[in-house]
Amino acid sequence: MAKKEKVALDGLEKFNRISHPTNILFNLLFVIFSLTCIIPVLLVLAISVTSEQAINKFGYHLIPQAFSVEGYAFLMKQGTMIARAFGVSLLVTVVGTVLGVLLTTAMGYAMSRPNYKLKGLLTWIVFIPMVFNGGLVSTYFVVGSLLGLKNTLGALIFPLAVSSFNVVICKTFFKQTVPDSLIESAKIDGAGQFTIFFRIVLPISLPLLATIGLFLTFAYWNDWYQSMLYIDQAGLKSLQALLNDIMSDIAAMSSQIANLGAEGAAIAANMPAESARMAIVVIVVFPIACAYPYFQKYFISGLTVGAVKG
């Protein structure tokens, strides 16, 4: 019976299709746009594996004139700077994501409890920043000076940890998917709200944790703005911040390396600047490009929940 219905529906769908020429036209448009999205990344990849001589002679090309991994070899050899920046990025991303997920879900859970007395107050606390904020100047002085986070990893971690958008997603999710009866019965069994939250609510909300966690992971990994505002010390720069410096001034890379001593100066003198620079772009993009197709569905579910009630 069910199968028969499916067949009938397919028939209808077939009948209700756009014509073949239109289909081809649409496909063509999407192919063009998809290529616009992919080709730039391929170009950078190609540059990163082209020998420095070929780049200087022929410029950037999609197909390397002379293949070479000297850019990567160079980055590996002088190690410390890239390794440190990678470490900062990784640490900030991991710590920030864990902290952010805990702060966001705890708030969302408290707001989702129908009988909680301060629910109204918390809703205002979350809502007001959605329509009003202190602006860059005031935020800059508060975070950098009043809270004393300038030139600390805290400046990279704390400001991005919570967003009202994510809190609202959590609240909506808990309201819709965690049955009241489950929480009531846990309470009858003598569980407090902490036990309920950490032992019952969070374990059954894994899709939500994945969504919020991924939003945060990408936000932290991609962040360069906080670094630009609050970080001056070379040792605390993330990969994105390092790339930012190097892109705006290719000399920044050689000078940073030259700082590493006499040996560094020698390396800096004959470094493959162009390919090394693009190699850093590839190192930054690679984890994302590999990861996001697998996590797409969590993003989509997050955006959808958010779209239901903003």
């Binding site: 950078v44 780049i55 909680y116 301060l118 860059l136 100047v137 002085f141």
Partner: protein, 314 residues
Amino acid sequence: MSKTSNPTGKVHKKRWDRDDTELSILALPTTVWYILFSFLPMVGIIIAFKDYKIQGSFVESMIRSEWCGFDNFMFLFRSNDIWIILRNTLGYNLLFIVLGIVLPVAATLMITMLHGKRLAKAYQTAMFMPYFLSWVVAAALVWAFLSTDKGLINMLFFADDHQQWYMKPEIWPYLLTFLNVWKGLGYGMVVYLATVTGIDRSLYEAAVIDGASIWQQVKSITLPLMKSVIIMMFIMAVGRIFYSDFGLFYQVPRQSATLNPVVQTLDVYVYNMLKLGTTSMASAAAFVQSVAGCITILAANALVRKIDPDSAMI
């Protein structure tokens, strides 16, 4: 706090109990975060009315700095730059709002009509990618195309006559608009696609049986059901009309002074002024952004509420 009315008829607890205490403790760290990182800066916005001089810590400086009324604003609006910057900010935003709704909606409708579902999925994945790249990375990608002596465009099309793209203000409005669409289209499609796939198929079946063409189905079924999401995206975009995508306008043009008249927006201006130490101008501009942003979002919402109460966000 006690005796809340209860329209549901459920028995309401009237007193503060253990649950409330525990939930408050759970919410406390996040509340502290909001106070420190959201509400303190809101209080700090009064800096716009002070002749701010650094004298010791931030709080000391704030207290010792003299009130100066609207001097900072006078100063700001007397400068010639600000009007160009406002024009850029609002102009780009209006363009981005229109394109940011029309193009993703059109792309969503088109992708749902494709015959090959697997191809559709592949396009979607490819087009979503730019959303996951930071503007620093995107700026590097643009550089690979536009750099004067090595860029791909010059290599392929201007081999004998290298063009200095970062010195040509006339191409940048188009380029920035293109990049905005490039980065946002995949994201917009995801949001709208979720709505379209959620539409009950039987509506379309009924329409087909009644002899509706595909365009008629789009016009009378799909678009009306997408309306509230479209309006929500619109309100959110309008609320940010005094803000801009900082990375797009700061990173991509590589701070080329020649491009300033066509690429500088309020965000970039505030940042540059702040970094230069011109706190008075920066704080006044930031204040305008915050207050005007707040007003526009509330106004947009009120307008929507008037026209179509169900779609209002707040």
